[in-house]
């Protein structure tokens, strides 16, 4: 089976120059791979570096050492060292991300925020909006909200917009940062079903889920991130 994501010996630390240059190691020696159709859940206590790993995979945290290899457009790309425009191209075509929070763009409607990733893949506006409407309906977002910018939405409503936006494309790799954290049971079940559909289509998923029920329902494998704790390596 194809393995679209391979992470090899990745290390990350923060240097806080405003705090007298204190160096905070985050993770070290992170190595794992994810196959098509598999959902790997990052586990371990808070603060152990789960979100940092997802952010490195998406390219919005820098990587000190190691490689993040993704299969993109028939080639292998090392995201740890790629040029900005390559990272953006990988995000457009291969790598999706559902964040916990999303910065909202003033004046852009929820429907268009969801449709945008499809439009960026040259799908016609009406078709992209139709697909966006399907997803928002599936996630039970009230129809009267679709034409509004999500700035004033509740946490759960904003999160459903994020989920729809992340799931609308057929990207081969999908990162999920607590997508169900502020959802009620009914909508959690919808998301679990959507993840199962992605797996059936061969998407490689990497996620963080604190909700045990959801985690048990979606995870093929749980990766204990505390194994990558740099403090243990030092000892």
């Amino acid at each position: 089976m194809a393995t679209p994501l391979v992470v090899s010996e990745v290390a990350k630390s923060f240097t806080m120059h405003l705090r007298d240059g204190v160096r905070l190691p985050v993770v070290a020696n992170v190595s794992f791979s994810v196959k098509s159709g598999e959902c790997v859940v990052l586990g371990g206590p808070s603060g152990v570096g789960k979100s940092s790993i997802l952010k490195m995979l998406y390219g919005n945290y820098g990587v000190d050492e190691g490689q993040i290899l993704m299969e993109h457009d028939g080639k292998l790309v090392n995201l740890a060292t790629a040029e900005p425009r390559t990272v953006l191209e990988v995000r457009r075509a291969t790598l999706g991300y559902v964040s916990q929070f999303r910065r909202v763009v003033p004046r852009v409607s929820a429907l268009d925020i969801v449709a945008e990733p499809l439009q960026a893949r040259s799908v016609a506006l009406e078709d992209a909006r139709a697909r966006a409407a399907e997803l928002l309906a599936k996630l039970n977002l009230p129809k009267e909200l679709w034409s509004l910018p999500p700035a004033t939405f509740s946490g759960g409503e904003q999160q459903r917009v994020n989920i729809a936006r992340g799931f609308i494309t057929d990207h081969k790799i999908l990162l999920l940062d607590e997508p169900t954290a502020s959802l009620d049971a009914k909508n959690r079940a919808v998301v679990v079903e959507m993840i199962a559909e992605k797996k059936a289509k061969g998407t490689a998923l990497i996620g963080i889920f604190h909700d045990e029920e959801v985690r048990d329902a979606v995870a093929d494998r749980i990766l204990d991130v505390s194994a990558f704790s740099p403090r243990k390596v030092a000892a």
């Binding site: 405003l18 952010k55 390219g59 900005p84």
Partner: protein
């Protein structure tokens, strides 16, 4: 994704006597890419923008532009007439103060139409149609086409300046603090507009701003300048979410949260 850069900047420095304007700046810009240059006042952002857009001659270094005929031309070696033609057709320049980029005493329609005439359009009817189309795209009511920009608000003037610059379908647009001096609701509208136009037209743009929120919303890449030098650069969300240099960390941590 095009394989060759639109603009190649190699080791550009500008000195004002013994004072440093900017020094040793090198980068490539590709079509469709939006680059934000950030840094505090006096860090050399505007000097660099002026050197890139031929408004100032660099003291040393080379800026090359990929012309429509497929050749690279060294901007410093271009004739004055050719450079002016480039600035009027293939490039746009959006000033912080719209009065610097508009003709305040001719009508809004003529401000847009003038750039079209510069590229050889002579048919009054066509020019007026194109001008009305662009006023509509920048959300200026068609009933204002014969008014002079003196009678416009700051936000409208800025939108008119953008229409004037984009009407000739430029490939590269320079913007110097395009939202500076506008109040926040007007800023939001302008940002949304610029964001949409850049995306729809596939423009390359270089935007100087001291506002990191503007950079986050509009740009793909960021260059952080301090004392005339580029101290950090990279993907916009990487630089803002994981700043590496002490000065960048200071800038990012100084943003006021709403």
């Amino acid at each position: 994704m095009s394989a060759v850069p639109l603009l190649k900047v190699n080791d550009v420095s500008k000195f004002y006597g013994s004072r440093i304007g900017c020094r040793n700046v090198s980068f490539d810009l590709f079509s469709g890419e939006v680059l934000a240059i950030v840094g505090e006042s006096g860090s050399g952002k505007t000097t660099l923008l002026s050197c890139l857009s031929t408004r100032l001659m660099p003291t040393s270094g080379i800026v090359e532009y990929h012309m429509r005929d497929g050749q690279y031309r060294d901007l410093a070696r271009m004739g004055e007439a050719e450079r002016r033609f480039l600035m009027r057709t293939d490039w746009g320049f959006v000033h912080q103060n719209p009065a610097d980029g508009l003709r305040m005493t001719v009508s809004a329609g003529a401000n847009v139409g003038e750039r079209l005439m510069a590229v050889g359009d002579r048919h009054y009817g066509n020019i007026r149609v194109a001008a009305s189309d662009w006023l509509e795209r920048v959300e200026i009511g068609i009933d204002r086409i014969d008014d002079q920009p003196r009678a416009f608000s700051g936000g409208m003037r800025q939108r008119l300046q953008i229409a004037r610059n984009l009407v000739t379908s430029p490939r590269l647009v320079f913007m110097d603090e395009p939202t500076g001096g506008l109040d926040v609701s007007v800023q939001a509208r302008l940002l949304d507009l610029v964001r949409g136009l850049v995306h729809d037209l596939g423009l390359a743009a270089i935007i100087v701003t001291h506002d990191l929120a503007v950079a986050r919303l509009l740009s793909h890449r960021i260059m952080v300048m301090k004392d005339g030098a580029v101290i950090e650069q990279g993907l916009t969300d990487r630089v803002l979410d994981d700043p590496r240099e002490p000065y960048t960390q200071l800038l990012v941590s100084s943003i006021l949260q709403v």
